[in-house]
Amino acid sequence: MISLFDTQTPGTSRASRFIEEEIGKTRRFFAHLPSHTLALDAVRNEVDRVAKRCKSSNWDGYGAEPVQPATYWYIHAFVDHIPPGIEMPSIGSESDGHMTLEWYRSPERVLSVSVSPEGELHYAALLASERRMGTLKLASSFPEVIYHIIREVTSR
């Protein structure tokens, strides 16, 4: 049986180097998959736990809004698109009923994303002395800007 990833004697041409690099990328991608699926399941469970805790008003004792079913649906849609190879976020909630995902390295290196019941992603990040923030609409793929900030937060 011939394995897709069996390597033979490496070539020296640009084409063979390209093929080797692509095989390497593919191998790394598939190597992540089983653990990625498990990690996503853990995040989904965390989403369920937090949403359940915050489903009624005043869950924080300060008059918080409940997490709406739409927010729950959108955060699951967002989590489903987290690509392999990046760290998993921790899940939280805010008094306006938004649910949050946080990628954290230190208080000075952190990204927080809020998911609203309208399907908006409000994000804010501290990257040492730099601040980044904005609002995106949840789309059918993982937002590139969020992906790059996660990389910057977690790469050090």
């Binding site: 869950w59 004792g61 300060y62 899940i91 805010e94 306006d96 609203s116 409000h122 804010a124």
Partner: protein, 127 residues
Amino acid sequence: MNTSPVISNEWLARYILSEDHIRKDGTVKPDPFIPYKHVELSVTRHIGLEENEIWQAGELVASQREDQLIGRADIVAQRAVDNGLTVLPAPLLKNHNHANIIGWPAMKPDQKIIALELVKGAVFVKR
């Protein structure tokens, strides 16, 4: 009723009922510092209170929900001022040291950045 102006080195407490608001390393997430829905953030001034009295105010917050008080996040008032906010005394019948942090921007991402800056200097005190 404590209506004296809040001074910059005063400590302010935000009570925490949810474990999801505390990170694994014991630091505080920005989530409990998002000011919605009155665009003000309720806090309790430490000034003039004994430790047990600071906790009593927290138990009052927890009793609103019949939930367990996990702890409190303490910040220095100056940190709020440094981020363009104002801390105003707003004593309540059952919490004479209650105050509001006001002056928040209307847009959510701007609020989130300020919340991240506030919690950089926050101290979590477990109940």
